[in-house]
Symmetry: C2
């Protein structure tokens, strides 16, 4: 697949360079070039660090700013950042109140963030708590929740952690609220067409021109069912049904909805999908409190999308409503 | 190309339905289903109407909200809206101070917006002024500026018109400032891969796997040069050189930059492009006042991107800095 790049070995460095030059009012690069933090930190609060592999932009680097994360550790494409930048960001954003690390449930991230947390503790005496996102319903059965991967729902968990910190919760409080957000967040996705890594140029998976794959992962991990492409309504029916079977939502309860595009799926398709989500929830008397539609966490130029629901209570609603000001996500 | 839709004949209706259901706090649908206006209008100002064909989302409907447009007329995919919804929106947003129509320079839009302006005047006694966007450098030579098409730069012209109206300028003042924005806005794009219309499923143009096309239009209109795909830096050199030859920018002058993705181009590529734009402008002593990077005006799932520069003075800077709150564009 064609890409507007210079050198496949330097795409991440050049992307970061473009990013910090474009948004100096928001973000600065530390000595470790894969470590980015807010240009000006809010004083006296728990630090919130996000991170993971590149290729998911605007996640994760796009979400550093007021009301969102304080810093980000940037990995290679679809690969966890090593401990180095994680520790560097942790140190830079700690204000003596500890730092929460929010990341998706992938083996590499678990290992690297775990090592970084230990190093931050031992070498810098910084208390670190981890919130591991596991929103992808398709990635493991309900009785093995801890095996589930983190995908688009990480946006909500990041937002909740960040707002909890902005509201003055301590490390225990921020972690508790972010974990609770994760517990009530579910995502189901569908893949239509692959992406290709700059270094290989090869598609990450193959699907016939009339096929789709339900539950496909953010890096092309196999889903739960391959089949003929169906109408948007039928696909959404599958996704929402799977979510509601996994996490029942009663009549009268409220949710925020995220329809996420994986890269090359048009806003038109995402809006048509939302239309059906709204019909299904409305039929069940579930109220949509707020909607998010767009490319929030991509897989390079992959085709496909996902539906995320987060079940809200008063505390989580306050978080969802809280303003944000980041290079790639602003909310009033 | 695979699409998550239901019925190719109803994609626009279903998209609008999803849109108004997702963002009721921002936008409502009039009796004419292709006519959308802000849920609550700011009192006592010139109305700003935008519109054009669908398939460019988030343009145009995503830009209705505070600090941006008051209403939008929605056409079929890549086709101008007919006069009906344009007149309906014009009538709904007029507050006795007149309405400015901002749209791209395409034959269908010129005809339909022109007819709608006459009808608004004759049937409803509303004064309408038109601002026709012509930012696409590649679409006609410099001595035939009036033949140029409007592409991504329409975002800046819309923003300037909307802010001028919000600041209390009268119809003449809004029109003057928006036209001035158009006069100092230039865009150059590159196409890499086609999109397909839902109704035909056929690609809008063809390019070999190693080819690019400089100056390709937003609906697949032929560009000025086809050739082998080059590095991002070389492509950006071509785009920026063409812009600066067309509109010289002196050392010390300031610009806002928009790197726009056409649909399936990753944020990573857009950021790598920005990196080179910044280098080139910095070498010339041109200051970047503010940067916008993302999918601002797409062509369904087309691959490619564009660089837009708007040359700023104090008045235009005030407009660029003005906050906005729309479903698909928020600025603090």
């Amino acid at each position: 697949m064609k890409k507007l790049i210079n050198d496949a070995d330097h795409v991440v460095e050049e992307m970061i360079d473009g990013y910090v030059k474009a948004f100096p009012q928001y973000v600065k690069q530390l000595e470790n070039p894969r470590a980015l933090v807010r240009s000006e930190l809010d004083a006296d609060k728990v630090g919130v660090l996000i991170g993971g592999g590149s290729g998911h932009e605007p996640a994760f680097m796009g979400y550093v700013g007021a009301g969102m994360a304080d810093g980000v550790a940037v990995g290679n494409i679809f690969a966890s950042p090593p401990p180095g930048p994680i520790v560097a960001v942790t140190e830079a954003i700690d204000q003596g109140k500890g730092v929460v690390h929010v990341y998706g449930n992938y083996a590499g991230d678990i290992m690297n963030f775990g090592m970084a947390a230990e190093m931050a503790d031992l070498e810098h005496d910084i208390e670190v708590a981890s919130v591991v996102v596991t929103d992808d319903v398709a990635s493991a059965p309900k009785n093995e929740m801890a095996k589930r991967r983190g995908i688009a729902g990480e946006f909500f968990v990041t937002k909740v952690a960040s707002v909890a910190s902005a509201l003055g919760h301590d490390l225990v409080g921020v972690t508790r609220l972010a974990n609770r957000a994760n517990e009530v967040t579910r995502t189901m996705g569908v893949g239509l067409s692959p992406c290709s890594l700059p270094q290989t140029g090869k598609p990450s998976f193959t699907l016939a021109e009339d096929e789709m794959e339900i539950g496909l992962g953010h890096h092309g991990e196999p889903g739960i069912e391959k089949g003929k492409l169906e109408t948007a309504d039928k696909v959404v029916d599958r996704l929402v049904t799977a979510i509601l079977e996994d996490m029942p939502i009663a009549t009268g309860e409220e949710v925020a909805v995220l329809i996420n595009g994986l890269g090359s799926t048009t806003r038109m398709e995402l809006l048509i999908m939302f239309r059906r989500v709204e019909q299904l929830l409305s039929e069940r008397g579930i109220k949509i409190y707020r909607s998010f539609i767009g490319d929030y966490s991509t897989s390079l130029e992959m085709g496909g999308s996902s539906v995320t629901l987060i079940k809200l209570d008063a505390e989580l609603k306050e978080c969802i409503d809280y303003p944000a000001d980041c290079p790639m996500y602003v909310q009033k």
